[in-house]
Symmetry: C2
Subunit: 316 residues, 2 copies
């Protein structure tokens, strides 16, 4: 990647369109109408790119036990865009606004992925991602207050973490739980990503242990802040939040600068747009000095990161 | 590493002994007397392990341009313990307290490292570390208000990031700038580290660009918090701080829980001890669920972390 002089600002109108709940009874068409409304609002406030949530078109269905077939029928998309989502792509092209959208992808050969696309200002798909860090479990836990069946309904993503050149910006993306894993951001920063966008659905209750509820939001924020800083990138994170048919999820959608500072944050658990004028050159200060990877990284001492999956004994 | 039931608390009295300035005119003996005082205070408050700063025995000398020979003569240790530091080792053994200490190491064959040791409660050295992420530069910058010559005075550490079993606790360590690199903590967590201790000297001014001063502290804290959380470990970080002969460095020494929360923080820029009763079992909740590495990590998608040093083009 060519080094740009850190003193020449280069602005991107960057927005997050947080969503309130999507209930089981809500139609795809009604959801897409909400997305189109927020796209227009973001555009009117100067946005050139809008970040929508993970699994934005439906309720967070991995909380329900059901067969794969039933899930595919009710909650997955067989094409993107498809009949229900075409109006969003059309309006984005008309306005000249790019966007990121998370959805459940069903491939032609019947495989399910938790996926996202980055769409350019011309309405064409510039990048695809399939979620790699799938949380939760695959077996039924009848004793739990709800399920977290991402390991049942989705295969591990097979497209890697990639950066894409889109409308003059090098962007990367991920989904939800990926944001808590530092490898996610580092692999994209090593491809010169300047902005990472992501959506999430984060239940307020941890079904595995008695985790204090406030930690869900605290750990969400510090993960985004530290990884934005440690890679010299902008991070935009969009929640689907509030109570979906009685199941509450956290909000606190944010835009984080390469300084690690939260520069915009939602205040509601409803549909809400936040937007900033992001100076992409700010990240260059960090990437040229404290995080000049070429000067300071020492991969010969990082090998365990790829040589081990789980934790093991101390090195001899 | 054997999985321990997350419900059985396992406590460690964990302390940080922050240091105020060490001036050029201060003798090694006077500095060691300060360390011994803080060791006693920490022990009286229940500490079983005390974390001292980086380069704890001298001023932060990489800010001064001088020859390697002069630096070796004035600021490096030829043995650890040596005549000046033996009283600290003796007092630690007498009290039955372990500690971490950073110092400039001169090897028998004349190589310089920015080093640290972990010393067990029996007074013997349980682990050694030589700093890997050396910040700064090696050439003279006469236009800068001060130098940051770590790349001149120190070689890149050759011992890797390791975890050591010390008095029933698996500990790792690093130094200063290492704490801003997520690879540091991950490599030690993949060896089952439960606690990572570190010292730092962080100038309040960035000589490379006009970085807002408050960011030095903000980015220090979010780096520690996110990496503690993302690895399910306790982190104890000890500053040398305040104004050394007119050169100011940040304080804000902290102890961070595996939840990412700051559970103790200094309030001064002087010698100051903070101490907590750290439940090592708290980290097990995180390592068994959200950060169950064996279940959730996908090293096949992390390869760029070791295959590239600097940032390059997007993957094809």
């Amino acid at each position: 990647m060519t080094s740009r002089p850190a003193t020449s600002p280069r602005f991107l109108g960057l927005a997050v369109a947080q969503m309130g709940p999507v209930h089981l009874s809500d139609s795809r068409e009604s959801v897409v109408a909400r997305l189109v409304d927020m796209l227009r609002q973001a555009h009117s406030r100067g946005a050139e790119f809008v970040t929508f949530p993970e699994l934005a078109l439906t309720t967070f269905f991995p909380r329900y036990w059901m067969s794969e077939e039933e899930a595919h029928e009710r909650f997955f998309e067989r094409s993107m865009p498809g009949p229900a989502t075409q109006p969003l792509f059309d309006e984005a092209r008309r306005l000249g606004v790019g966007f990121y959208l998370g959805y459940a992808e069903l491939t032609e050969d019947g495989r399910g992925f938790n996926s996202a696309v980055i769409v350019g200002r011309d309405g064409s798909i510039a990048g695809r991602y399939r979620k790699i860090h799938l949380p939760g479990h695959s077996e039924h836990k009848p004793e739990a207050p709800f399920q977290h069946l991402e390991k049942k309904f989705f295969e591990v993503g097979d497209l890697g973490f990639r950066a894409f050149d889109t409308d003059g910006v090098r962007m990367g993306m991920c989904l939800c739980n990926d944001r808590r894993w530092p490898e996610t951001y580092r692999v994209m920063a090593l491809q010169g990503a300047e902005v990472v966008v992501l959506g999430y659905n984060t239940p307020s209750l941890n079904i595995h242990w008695n985790e204090p509820v406030h930690l869900r939001t605290t750990t969400h924020l510090i993960s985004l802040q530290a990884n934005a800083y440690q890679n010299g990138i902008w991070v935009a994170a969009a929640a689907k939040c509030g109570s979906e048919d009685g199941h509450h999820m956290i909000g606190s959608s944010v835009i984080v600068a390469p300084s690690g500072e939260i520069v915009a944050r939602t205040v509601s658990e409803e549909d809400e747009v936040i937007c900033v004028r992001a100076d992409l050159a700010l990240g260059a200060h960090f990437r040229e000095h404290v995080f000049n990877f070429a000067k300071h990284r020492r991969p010969e001492h990082y090998r365990l990161i790829v040589e081990r999956t789980g934790a093991g004994d101390p090195l001899p």
